[in-house]
């Protein structure tokens, strides 16, 4: 039983990272119907930036946090200006391909600047694990889960009460009408990209603190796809929950079937789920008018 519980907890900890990335996918998909294939790479880039900051400032927590925020705003603005805005009015497929190209680009540039070896994040405290009902938890993992919950609540409140969030939901429902109502779509895109970069950056720094920082951070972005699909691409909180489910499923598959199947368990799950519910568990069904 404690083996099972340990697997579930480890799954939740990884799943929280997937969930954060999936929230980023969902926020961008909601406003622009585009899947951002560069989400994992953005997470890696901001992770590396804050790693460099931490290296030079003796891992001072406020400065690292500041670097994540500044990095996210910078990356979000740059992407919106040079990738998204020129492609407005083009088919969605073109913009998706742009984000794929962006992913390849970021990966290459990060490889050029920081090299391909993984590093330990400076100041990543590996405190004594806490034992509860036979489950071993690292303090940082608990912190990660707390951040995850806080982000979920924050994003929910933002979409529910903030005027920009409401405009986002309006645009998701009908972009033409919300344009007519005076919503500035380009400003909305900017906000969406910054928020999703910010969430990705936070996930990146936490991931780097728990494990390490290296080029394989980009793969986490790909492994978060099943989470976003499972929850439904246009449902932000559904995607966040999907992350937890995928994390737990991966760990259970790795623990009970064979460790090799951990990496693909999530993908198998979405192949099956999509056959039954083609729009994800919480996604909105597309009803087409002919």
């Amino acid at each position: 039983m404690s083996y099972f519980l340990n697997l579930v907890f480890a799954g939740l900890a990884v799943g929280a990272i997937y969930g954060m990335l999936a929230m980023g996918y969902a926020i961008i998909y909601k406003v622009s119907r585009v899947v951002n294939f560069a989400q994992g790479e953005i997470m890696m880039l901001i992770g590396y930036i804050s790693y460099s900051v931490a290296l030079r400032t003796d891992a001072s927590a406020p400065l690292v946090m500041l670097s994540v925020i500044a990095g996210a705003i910078g990356v979000g603005l740059l992407i919106e200006r040079f990738i998204v805005r020129p492609m407005l009015g083009q088919p969605v497929f073109s913009l998706v391909m742009m984000t794929i190209a962006l992913a390849v680009m970021i990966r290459a540039v990060v490889g050029l600047i920081w090299g391909l070896d993984p590093y330990r994040f400076p100041g990543s405290a590996t405190g004594a694990p806490i034992e509860l009902f036979g489950v071993y938890m690292q303090p940082i993992q608990l912190f990660l889960l707390a951040v995850y919950v806080a982000l979920c609540v924050g994003v929910w409140a933002f979409l529910r009460f903030n005027i920009v969030g409401i405009a986002m939901r309006a645009t998701a429902t009908d972009s033409t009408v919300s344009l007519l109502m005076g919503v500035s779509v380009s400003r909305l895109y900017r906000v969406a990209w910054i928020i999703s970069a910010l969430i990705a950056g936070i996930a990146g720094v936490l991931f780097a603190n728990i494990y390490h920082i290296g080029p394989d951070l980009a793969h986490v972005g790909i492994r978060a796809f099943p989470a976003a699909i499972l929850g439904g691409l246009d449902s932000v909180l559904g995607s966040a929950l999907g992350g937890l489910i995928i994390g737990v499923v991966e760990n259970l598959a790795g623990g009970y079937i064979a460790s090799a199947y951990k990496e693909i368990a999530g993908f198998v799950v979405i192949l099956v789920i999509l056959m039954i519910r083609p729009y994800g568990l919480f996604g909105q069904k597309d009803i087409e008018r002919v």
Binding site: M87, V96, A260, I264, V268, L271, L274, M275, V290
Partner: protein
């Protein structure tokens, strides 16, 4: 002055080549390619072999993504299935080369049903991610299935003689590739001008309307996936025969992206575009590395020390610039240039 717009009957509209004289030009191109091994040094010939293999793969992907409009990010998976099928057929079971190539195509086509069936219900990006998931699963399973595929340590592939013709030399590999590339292009062009090809274009443009016109969506979507992955599987088998050593590193995600880059650069839905795109994308990394090395000094050493990164940056830049400034690709550029010269001196800029 000749014009492309005037057609007298339906047959002229679907003809393979618009003019009699075009046949002469393509015969000339074929003659040049056939005599290539006698004219150029071996490394140029092996390079052309690489381009032809890439062109076969790009033509394959172009059918499903360009013509039928079903985005596939998983063609590295089909490529891997084809390559390993051919490798196993030759190395383990001692099949002759043509049988192995056909087997590669058919096994890939059968595997494509796994992706094709969800594609009936999924739209756009959901489908793209499903195909991505498929290729990740395929590569992972190949790595796990050590008894059959050699796992992560890889698998050597021989080139047995065929009907007494030795296949070991680069020239014989070049001719084999040329024959298959020629058959692929001819077959695809004929398919695209038939009912099947027009049905694919119709379901790409508006699938609801297409199904109202009496096009069986289930059948044609599955057919698009099957034909496309058949060709991609054949390209994979050529790859296996060419490298003679298989390893899953050759089928990473970047390969699918490379293939997508080829058809975007070339122009979606155009066979000529796929070939042009395959040529450009294959040549570009080495060409730009050469240019960077001319600068010497720091720039040159960066270029020689980080080949994978340079390649990534170039692919990314090429995709971005083409999407931004020439979304119709090289095929469109080709037509414009041709029209400019055939209308000259009355051509408009």
């Amino acid at each position: 002055m000749r014009t492309r717009t005037y057609r007298e009957n339906y047959r002229e509209l679907t003809e393979l080549l618009p003019y009699r004289s075009s046949w002469n030009w393509y015969a000339l191109l074929l003659a040049v390619l056939v005599s290539l091994p006698f004219m150029v040094p071996t490394y140029v010939m092996t390079y052309v072999t690489l381009i032809l293999i890439a062109a076969v793969g790009a033509v394959g992907l172009n059918i499903v993504t360009g013509t039928a409009g079903l985005i596939s990010l998983g063609h590295a998976g089909f490529l891997a299935i084809g390559a390993y099928t051919a490798g196993i057929a030759i190395s383990t079971y001692g099949w002759p080369i043509p049988a192995a190539i056909l087997a590669a195509g058919f096994v890939s086509a059968a595997a494509s049903l796994l992706v094709g069936v969800p594609s009936l219900r999924l739209k756009g990006l959901y489908l793209a991610i499903t195909t991505l998931a498929f290729s990740i699963i395929v590569v992972h399973l190949i790595n796990q299935w050590e008894g059959l595929t050699g796992g992560s340590s890889g698998m050597p592939v021989g080139r047995p003689d065929f009907l007494g013709i030795p296949m070991r030399s680069p020239a014989s590999m070049f001719y084999l590739t040329l024959v298959i590339a020629g058959l692929t292009v001819l077959g695809t062009l004929n398919l695209l001008r038939s009912r099947v090809g027009r049905a694919w274009a119709a379901l790409r443009d508006y699938d609801t309307a297409a199904s109202m016109m009496g096009i069986n969506l289930v059948r044609y979507k599955l057919l698009a996936f099957a034909v496309s992955s058949f060709i991609t599987g054949v390209a994979g088998s050529l790859m296996a025969l060419n490298i003679r050593y298989l390893n899953t590193d050759s089928f990473e995600l970047i390969v699918s992206i490379e293939a997508i880059a080829m058809i975007i650069v070339g122009g979606l839905g155009s066979v000529r575009g796929a070939i042009l795109g395959a040529t450009l994308i294959t040549v570009l990394p080495d060409f730009s590395r050469y240019v960077l090395s001319l600068f010497g000094g720091a720039l040159g050493s960066i270029a020689s020390g980080n080949t994978a990164e340079i390649k990534g940056i170039i692919y990314a830049l090429v995709i971005m610039l083409f999407l931004r400034f020439e979304p119709d690709g090289l095929a469109h550029q080709w037509n414009r240039t041709k029209r400019f010269w055939s209308d000259w001196p009355y051509s408009r800029k």
